[in-house]
């Protein structure tokens, strides 16, 4: 057993090294020294307390989105629409934040609930069609991302635009702020929420009967069905839960970091979260580390753009290469697709 696990870790490690090597090659092709890029990245990510806080600030939404992805993966489903749920969650949390004036904690909680509900609402239709008619959730959630980004932009620019120039909503009241952790950074309680969520979701899946049912549906739907688990209901609930966490990520960004909503609110956090969860093979605890890794890359890349000629998207390339390199070892499968007696096997 142990040697199996060791082999797979070794394989994973080699694959990542291979990907980093490829990444170095890519960096060479854009005329930079890979070493300089690496040093700049590390410096940018961990060079000072402020920078470490900056890294954690980037880690937070990736972590929460990653947990949203883990939830769906665990049930054998792919929610790729976390980006959209994040935008919706972020917008509606902001809306509650600037439209009402309420007592401090209550206001924040209410705004956060709005984010969660928005996330759930945004995945509800894809989830319903997936559960009831087996409509491919990968495509439906991806397409919903584009719609979410455009609708929130519309709401921001055409309906709620702050008077006086900027393409953004009015700022939220301070009563809706998610408290900051340190005075020198915008790092806030969102990180704690993310960590708690990771542990909570992990415990849910390993310690509770509901989590067990979801896990088995993801692992062997026929077995779960035989054991009396209602697959349709479960598929719907898993996707809704995943969407709720995706919405929460948006709420954390809105109430903890930006305190307003604007165009390009949180570029790519949803996708980074999906990748972080994939790299952790769907394990929420593992996602803490992969999210930190990606957060450091993101944070480091900010300095990268200042100090070198490389663009910060180079880190996206590295992320993608890592996933490709380990893809053959990722055991997550969309299992919930080939379930339930009497229904036609899913085609794609």
């Amino acid at each position: 057993m142990m040697s199996d696990r060791f082999d797979s870790l070794l394989g994973q490690g080699l694959a990542i090294l291979f990907a980093l090597g490829l990444g170095a090659l890519v960096i060479l092709t854009v005329d930079e020294s890979p070493m300089k890029v690496l040093v700049t990245l590390l410096n940018g990510a961990f060079g000072s307390p402020e920078r470490i806080a900056g890294t954690l600030l980037q880690t937070t939404p990736i972590l929460i989105c990653g947990i949203a992805a883990c939830i769906s993966f665990r049930g054998g489903l792919f929610n790729i629409g976390i980006e959209g749920q994040l935008f919706m969650g972020g917008f509606w949390a902001t809306w509650v934040g600037f439209s009402f004036n309420l007592p401090p904690i209550l206001h924040m909680l209410l705004a956060m609930s709005a984010a969660v509900i928005a996330g759930m609402a945004w995945i509800a239709i894809p989830a319903f069609f997936r559960a009831r008619y087996k409509t491919n959730e990968v495509v439906s959630t991806i397409l919903a991302n584009y719609v979410a980004v455009l609708i929130t932009s519309y709401l921001t620019i055409n309906i709620f635009k702050r008077s006086g120039g900027q393409s953004e909503t009015p700022p939220i009241f301070e009563s809706a702020y998610l408290p900051e952790l340190f005075s020198f950074s915008r790092l806030n309680w969102g990180l704690i929420i993310g960590l708690a969520l990771a542990i909570g979701v992990y415990l849910f899946f390993t310690r509770t009967s509901r989590g067990y049912a979801v896990t088995e549906m993801g692992a062997n739907p026929k077995f779960a069905e035989y054991g009396g688990i209602d697959i349709r209901k479960q598929v719907f609930l898993v996707l809704i839960a995943s969407g709720a966490v995706g919405g929460l990520a948006g709420g954390v960004e809105a109430l903890g970091v930006h305190h307003r909503f604007m165009e390009g609110f949180a570029p790519g956090f949803g996708f980074d979260g999906v990748i972080a969860a994939l790299l952790a093979n769907g394990n929420p605890i593992g996602t803490i580390f992969t999210a930190l890794f990606f957060g450091a890359l993101r944070s480091g890349s900010l300095l990268l753009e200042v100090d070198t000629t490389a663009s910060r998207e180079i880190i996206t390339v590295i992320q993608a290469l890592i996933i490709l390199a380990v893809s053959a070892q990722i055991t997550i499968r969309r299992k919930a697709s080939d379930s339930t007696a009497g229904e036609r096997r899913w085609k794609f």
Binding site: V26, T29, V30, V138, I157, F271, I275, S311, A320, I323
Partner: protein
């Protein structure tokens, strides 16, 4: 009425044909993988690198045709990686497809910044688009001539490919084998058809057309490259592929619907409707199509069931009334 007249006229048809072409090309590419039983979510990325390298190639060589070749080569490279990981290493096709899309996004922006020192878009730098083809003697055809003339070559290619693919799937051995591999791999295996080989070929054919789609986007549809310029067309193509099941004619219909909604929404913009809402229309059309058709497939399932039941019953008419036929149906 006046509004309608402003919306619906010959230039709308022309606009529809223009907007249909890129998505049609990429969806026809996806039909190869769909028919071969591969779920290829990586179309978006293939199209994007196709567009980027078509621009690079054109600027480097001065010839848009060599640019098209570069774009296709880049898309083929992604397609090859996809096939290698999915077919040979049995990696999850969704994971690989998504990663390749992300790679394409990151790579194009990084290279753009490295080469041109800018973000956002590339234009100028001696970038020339593909020439528009003026068909001869179309003046005599009146509005119809106006409708069919003056597009860039890949627009014609896209529409001509529809009958070519129909012929390919129905009359060529390779097309037939691709269908067999996707529909009934065990039948292919029993006949000694290599599933691996066919899936590689399908992936590469898909890359070829996705690359052309990208090249068209950058050198025909516009003459520039912008960050993420495929803007979800690859995903919409996947939605079309799901409900068309990869059949070229249904793909054409689906793509025309998108082209039309795209063209119409651009017009709606002139009526003062927010551009954000207008831009969302094609995605919404894709989503509604996806949901509506999966909902509709249920009655079809029931119909099929009834049909097959009917068949059984007609063979054994004595089992129509289960309750009373028990003894009769015993041999």
């Amino acid at each position: 009425m006046e509004v309608l007249e402003r919306l619906l006229n010959i230039s709308l048809v022309i606009a529809t044909i223009r907007t249909t072409a890129p998505i049609l090309l990429v969806a026809l590419g996806g039909s190869f993988t769909t028919k071969a039983g591969i779920f290829n979510i990586g179309l978006e990325g293939q199209m994007l690198v196709g567009a980027f390298f078509a621009v690079i190639g054109t600027i480097a060589t001065g010839s848009p045709w060599l640019g098209v070749l570069c774009g296709v080569a880049a898309a083929l490279t992604l397609a090859l990686i996809f096939a290698l990981l999915v077919v040979s290493f049995k990696a999850n096709e969704v994971v690989v497809g998504l990663a390749l899309n992300i790679l394409a996004g990151g790579l194009t922006v990084s290279l753009m910044k490295a080469i041109f020192g800018t973000r956002g878009s590339i234009f100028g730098h001696g970038l020339v688009g593909l020439p528009a083809l003026k068909l001869p003697n179309v003046k005599d055809l009146g509005w119809f001539g106006q409708m069919i003339s003056g597009y860039t070559p890949l627009v014609y290619a896209a529409f001509i490919l529809v009958p070519v693919l129909i012929l390919f799937y129905n009359r060529s051995r390779l097309g037939l084998y691709i269908r067999v591999v996707g529909e009934k791999p065990e039948a292919a295996e029993a006949l000694g058809i290599s599933i691996t080989r066919i899936r590689y070929i399908s992936s590469l054919l898909c890359g070829l057309l996705a690359g052309l789609a990208g090249a068209h986007l950058a050198l025909g549809y516009t003459t520039m490259f912008t960050e993420n310029m495929s803007s979800g067309r690859g995903f919409m193509a996947v939605a079309i592929l799901i409900f068309s099941n990869g059949d070229p004619l249904k793909i054409l219909l689906g793509c025309l619907l998108f082209g039309f909604s795209d063209a119409l929404s651009l017009r709606l913009q002139t009526l003062g409707i927010s551009s954000y809402l207008v831009l969302a229309v094609p995605y919404l059309v894709a989503l509604i199509g996806l949901f509506a058709l999966s909902y509709r497939s249920r009655p079809r399932l029931i119909q099929e069931t009834l049909a097959s039941m009917g068949r059984v019953l007609s063979v054994k008419s004595n089992t129509i009334k289960p309750a009373t036929a028990t003894d009769a149906s015993k041999p």
